[in-house]
Symmetry: C2
Subunit: 352 residues, 2 copies
């Protein structure tokens, strides 16, 4: 052991890629987003909590462990099948808190409104936020409103930040995946991204694709009640399952082996993705969770998840392996295998 800093601990203050300007991909949750964080924000804001890079950060306040998280929402259109920016703003932050095992408690809500937004629209958004907050058991306790000139926004951007309490005994984090762990997913993938895409582009399928936007706090509570030893929880939003698994693989220094045919995808979403040349594993979800758990607990957890409306289609889709660290590999339906990478930018801009 030595106290010398390892060269691996140094971060370069300049983004690796030679983009002189911000591009849409920097907000996509893929490699470009990651580079912005690693090479621009982290060197400036350097501290242990931020370096942890989970969906939320866990702070010690006296004897309590507080989860703290924030997200801005810029989704277009503001209303879409299955939800709106209002529900998304509540569910997004509630879910980030829940992914650290916390009981979500309080939210802030901050609005950047565009001059000319109908008051009625804002009223509808606020009503939907209020309903979503009540259902998720959180209280919106503080807020802010700014207005920008017509043409300088998109009607309404919302930021929420949230505070939750992590029960004692719970230790969840992206660095805790162990070889042999089971990889569970709570339901079908890609619904949210494809719902937004269809609404935005006016695409028609046999039936309307609904966003899965939902608060996962209750499902997490039930899962932790039967298995407090869950290692990692993550809601695969921007960048989809692919981005979440690759992040965990690199933070836990392990690999993933998935069985593609076990990954639940709604048939309509699957065909929409096929038509548009998208991979459902890279499309955003807003009401799904990924759990990495000790293999002995997988069965019980799946049974518990199946009892919750948000986990009816839960499935074990693979396991953690030490044979190819920092790599996500899927066995395909025809018996081959493919490496699942994180996108550089984003397939679908402005989906949350």
């Amino acid at each position: 052991m030595t106290s010398q800093p390892s060269p691996e601990d140094f971060t370069c203050p300049l983004p690796l890629r030679d983009y002189p300007n911000i591009v849409l991909g920097h907000g996509g949750g893929g490699q470009l987003s990651d580079e912005l964080v690693q090479h621009l924000f982290l060197p400036q804001f350097q501290n242990d909590q931020l370096a942890h890079l989970g969906d939320s950060t866990v702070l010690e306040i006296g004897d309590h462990r507080l989860a703290f998280s924030t997200d801005s929402f810029v989704v277009r259109p503001l209303f879409f099948p299955g939800g709106s920016i209002g529900e998304l703003a509540v569910h997004g932050t509630v879910n980030d808190l829940a992914m650290s095992g916390a009981e979500p408690l309080y939210l802030s809500a901050s609005f950047i409104l565009e001059e000319g937004l109908p008051i009625e629209t804002l009223q509808e958004i606020a009503a939907r936020m209020a309903t979503a907050a009540r259902q998720a058991g959180v209280t919106i306790v503080t807020g802010d409103t700014k207005v920008v000139e017509k043409g300088h926004g998109d009607g309404c951007y919302i930021n929420t930040a949230g505070i939750g309490l992590v029960p004692s005994g719970i230790e969840i984090g992206p660095e805790r995946a162990q070889p042999g762990d089971a990889v569970l997913i709570s339901g079908t993938l890609g619904d949210h991204g494809m719902a937004i895409m269809s609404a935005r582009e006016g695409l028609q399928f046999e039936s309307t694709i609904q966003s899965d936007s939902a608060s996962l706090g209750g499902l997490v509570r039930e899962m932790l009640a039967v298995c407090p030893e869950i290692h990692v929880l993550r809601d695969p939003t921007r960048g989809g399952l692919a981005a979440s698994l690759n992040e965990i693989a690199s933070q836990s220094d392990i690999g993933f082996e998935l069985e593609e045919k076990r990954i639940p995808v709604d048939p309509i979403v699957a065909s929409a993705c096929e038509i548009l040349g998208l991979d459902p594993l890279m499309v955003a979800n807003e009401g799904k969770l990924l759990a990495i758990v000790p293999p002995a607990n997988a069965e019980l957890l799946l049974a518990t998840m199946h009892d919750n409306p948000l986990g009816k289609q839960a499935a074990q889709i693979g396991h953690v392996t030490e044979s190819h660290p920092r790599m996500v590999v899927a066995k395909t339906a025809i018996g081959g295998s493919r490496v699942i990478t994180t996108e550089i930018g984003e397939q679908l801009p402005r989906i949350c």
Copy 2:
């Protein structure tokens, strides 16, 4: 005593004014902002903490009292004499926490970037945020980045949310002003708003007006050390001193009597205001605080404030009275008196 709800407790779910659309004034911190909160957000998000309407809300977590606050920043231009959106985003939320007497501890930082923003500009903003955070003694522990298409933002909007710890024994709130209390201000008024205005409009005065953007956490700590009985603290940002005093007057059900000649205003700011037809009492500050304190403590507090670089020009500018509740009256320099009202909208849009 009766448990019947009083008609005064009802809020109307419709904004009082007949604006069908959001106008810039809804973000100005004046009467329109207040109506949006009272008649649109509060009826939806109804709860005790939010109804309190201070700069931050105080939450009980176990034995601890946590201050929680949020602000979005949409200032134009991004850089101005005396600061940038980066410092503002840190100071704004740190100050909101400090105004509840809390020791500011942690910040979140969430960016909405416009496609095409030079990475160099973002780097400069992040560096300034980091410096401001270090100086204020807070840590940026969690964040988020979204990107919107060119033409849908203004380079960079930032949201920060913050958590602080309120020391035991401290009870500060906008409803605690008492008749006889002294009204103290920590320095000159109107500097920030006029700095932004001059930078934006290219106005030239004898010398450049600098924003007063600063973290008030240290000053508050020193003030509370000599006088834990401070009743109200407020940083008069959007809407200026006029909006802050009118809000407190209505929440404490008291009136204010000010002596205009005692209110410190920089001569350059005063003449800039005169040229533009603005009232410095209604112009935003980003590094000033208003303290409403028991009269017996006023002298000691002023002496303490004078010892801090941010309070060198602190002054007692008036007192709390019961003779005209919910009204702010100033004795003018020529011996008359005028009623200081809150603006309907805003004098200067996009100043924070």
